[in-house]
């Protein structure tokens, strides 16, 4: 039963089915009232810079924007924990009328004196420009007074989607780049961009490279440090994982410092191996490649027996995935395939035309691809495609659960590492724990299906 949900007029071309021909439109603003799963530009900036643990992050605006992202993400720091606080100028009516510069100035000076951060990021929210605050000038003044970099992040929510915010964050981070000493950086050195160290994933990945003999200069921004950003231009290669958020920074590093970049992913065995090989190949040293191969063989051998067990039990199950960026979607399609599962619905909040071409290619015939989707649309396809598993974030979880569908959290709030080789095993376990749970037989929709197996499956996608 789909309760006859139709695609919202104006969104028809953002839904595509493999085999149907036609194009998939993307890179558009969300329709008002569509209940998009996307957040705003501010959110994009905040999530990208959040893991920089020794910086002060202060949100300039009324309280809402600051408070909803207070210590909810799974990005770990091996040292300072300052980033886990929520600092805000908490603008009140008085400041909305008379301006908030004074409060911002005082807030910054006091916080910097108290917490002694290495740098400060000042996020502008929707109303800051409207009330005429010159954030740039305040930042400059505070920087002079305190002697640390105080960097404005141009992130009013209405400026666009998360993607717009990613760019503003990259610009802000880039201000630090090039100010550190790179003399100690070796010839085989890389940065990991778009790796946010959720549940310690950056540490796992870093270890692979260190075992290969490659130095990781900076993970940007997972377990991030201001000084790492300052010297990251000294690395010889940038590996960009979350391409949506960090390609802009990679491009800036390429343009200004001649550091080339490659898009990689560390989700799934194939993609993780490919990423290690890509780095080895780039440096052209056969010894690196040899060690990469050793690591890949060794790590895969460790987990293969248990993965095979999962595969046996998960084979033939159908999955839907809706994630932020497209590169994760590619990896997930492959990782699911490795578990014997089929992706029947794939979507992203911020994929580009180029991303979607690639996604279309790797998907099976019949797979539906959606751009900037919403709860009703996702529910429609979950039902029509009769999926067994949904992979997404907190906002997608109730869609799956309400319909008796298993769920795997692959968002930044999660506390379980899913990247790298070990991560693949965790992923399989996460999927299996939900898909194979005995509870589903009590879910009314599953009960109805059990009584009348054809009820749900004959619905076709009419997009």
């Amino acid at each position: 039963m789909t309760a006859n949900i139709h695609i919202l007029p104006g969104r028809e071309d953002q839904v595509w089915q493999k085999g149907s021909g036609g194009n998939l439109a993307c890179d558009r603003r969300s329709l008002a009232g569509s209940v998009t799963q996307r957040a705003c530009a501010f959110c994009g900036s905040r999530v990208v810079l959040y893991p920089i643990a020794d910086a002060l992050h202060i949100v300039h605006g009324p309280i809402g924007c600051a408070v909803y992202n207070w210590d909810i993400r799974g990005s770990l720091s091996s040292g300072p924990q300052l980033h886990r606080n929520s600092f805000s100028t908490d603008l009140q009516e008085k400041e909305v009328i008379f301006g908030g510069e004074k409060k911002l100035h005082a807030s910054l000076v006091e916080l910097i004196q108290y917490y002694q951060p290495k740098a400060a990021f000042v996020y502008s929210t929707c109303i800051v420009g409207l009330i005429g605050d010159d954030v740039q000038a305040v930042c400059k003044a505070v920087s002079r007074e305190t002697g640390i970099d105080v960097i404005p992040v141009e992130s009013p929510g209405f400026k666009g989607t998360k993607k717009t915010g990613y760019q503003a964050a990259c610009e802000a981070a880039f201000k630090l780049v090039g100010t550190g000493d790179t003399s100690q950086i070796g010839p085989y050195s890389i940065n990991l961009l778009g790796e946010f160290n959720i549940a310690g994933e950056a540490w796992m990945i870093k270890r692979y490279f260190e075992r290969m003999g490659i130095e990781v200069v900076a993970t940007i921004t997972g377990d991030g440090r201001v000084d790492d950003l300052r010297r990251c231009h000294g690395a010889k290669l940038n590996l960009v994982q979350c391409s949506g958020s960090m390609t802009h920074l990679a491009k800036r590093l390429d343009e200004d410092y001649g550091v080339p970049f490659q898009r990689v992913s560390f989700f799934g065995l194939e993609d993780t191996a490919r990423a290690l090989y890509a780095a080895a190949e780039f440096f052209g040293d056969p010894a690196l490649m040899e060690r990469a191969q050793e690591i890949v063989y060794e790590e895969i051998a460790k987990i293969t027996p248990r993965l095979k067990e999962y595969r046996k039990r998960l084979k033939g199950k159908k999955a839907a995935l809706y994630v932020g960026g497209a590169f994760k979607a590619f990896s997930l399609v492959l990782a699911l395939r490795a578990l014997g599962m089929k992706t029947v619905l794939a979507g992203t909040q911020t994929g580009s035309a180029e991303d979607y071409e690639q996604l279309k290619e790797i998907c099976d015939p019949g797979t539906v691809i959606v751009d900037d989707s919403n709860p009703l649309e996702l529910a429609k396809f979950v039902l029509e495609k009769d999926v067994d598993l949904f992979i997404g974030g907190v906002k997608e979880r109730p869609i799956a659960f309400k319909l008796g569908v298993a769920f795997c959290d692959h968002n930044h709030e999660r506390k379980i590492p899913l990247a790298g080789f070990e991560g693949m095993l965790n992923f399989a376990e996460e999927v299996a724990n939900s898909v194979l749970s005995p509870i589903w037989r009590f879910a009314p929709r599953r009960m109805a299906q059990a009584l009348n197996p054809k009820e749900d499956s004959h619905h076709e996608c009419n997009c």
Binding site: S34, I63, Q92, K395, G404
Partner: protein, 461 residues
Amino acid sequence: MSATAEMTPAQAPRSATQNACKLCAPLGASMVFKGVQGCLPFLHGSQGCATYIRRYMISHFREPVDIASSSFSEDDAIFGGARNFATGVENVINQYQPEIIGVATTCLSETIGENMIGMIREYQERYAGQGAPLVHVSTPSYSGTHSEGFHAAVKALVEQLVPPESVTHRDTTRLNILPGMVSCADLRHLRELVGLYGLSATLLPDYNQTLEGESWDQYHRISPGGTTLEEIREMGANAATLELGHTLALQKESAGAWLENHTGVHCHHAGLPIGIRLSDAFFTALSQATGRTMPDSLRAERGRLVDAYVDAHKYIAGRRVAIVGEPDLVTSLAAFVSEIGLQPVLCATGSKLKGWAEQVAAEIEPGIEKPEIVKGADHAQFSARCRALQPDMLIGSSKVYPLARELDVPLVRVGFPLHDRFGAQRLLTLGYRGTQNLFDLIVNAVLARRQDDSVTGYSYL
């Protein structure tokens, strides 16, 4: 290392808010709109506001929370969002077929001075008065907290939907309950209690089903449940109103007061009934409103609660407790903990409501030392005071956990948000039964700590 560990001896920052004890007003309004049948909340502003609030509410309630947004662009921020508002409302109607749309403003739309009344009039004209009603509430996050946003939305619903005419013929079988921001279990319990007094209840809001629903056999555009439009419209003709929450007495005209002033339905005010004294007051009001005496089953429940107080009082006597949360909740909790022999040492809220601190002070049991009472607090301030006051126990939302960990004291989780435990929707706190539940949680937190701390590890306490 705790999240607030890296401090230097410099003077504590005062200008910035550090780890706020409040959320924004549109969240409170959205929660209220979720409690109206067929209602879709709609935020007029940037789409991040809706997304953030959705995620926060989903994490607490574990239910679908669809909130629409007018998705302001830069042009809209400069030239006004009327066009986006109209498109947004149209798309919501198209997708969700709502019975009513609950529009809340945001800092952005308030700052640029959007003419909501005009936009809503335009909508009504476009639909020739036949469209789903739009109720709107002004909720800039630069004035007030989620708690104030909640109460404002209840008021807006009543004011904009109930005909302001004096009613002579009342439905004596029906009582209005304005419950304030309570759990789904509390809402169900309130309805049950009114039933025990022989009446039916119109609860506004009633998100007990929408935010704690059953597993579905089909997808629902809007979660089933909630107060119906019809029920709201008839509130002026019901027997009486019972309005819960101390802070409503501080308002110029609360929703209950508005109903009384405009329809003549008498409003009884009471605090959130937590603890025996406040529950007694609530049941007295319920008796007055219904003209009935307390049913035996409730007398027995009260009796068992008193018995439990007696059985456990020595375990908890004199334990020092610090409380933080929504203003109405903190006031009632302060009354409760002081009547069971705990010593409240600190009561804090993020709200800046005038008169709140005095209300808390007045609720402290005579003979118990008055606690420090801090309004407009943030968690940094709350934490700093707790480090000095050394409470034995903390009561508050999940956001208090880092402090509980740092001070190594138990945290009894009440309020919003509860993101690190399961079952926030089902946390019963109201009436004798809810008090019993809270009391057990508190006593057991003390016992568990004692047991954990003991070298011997007795299994018999």
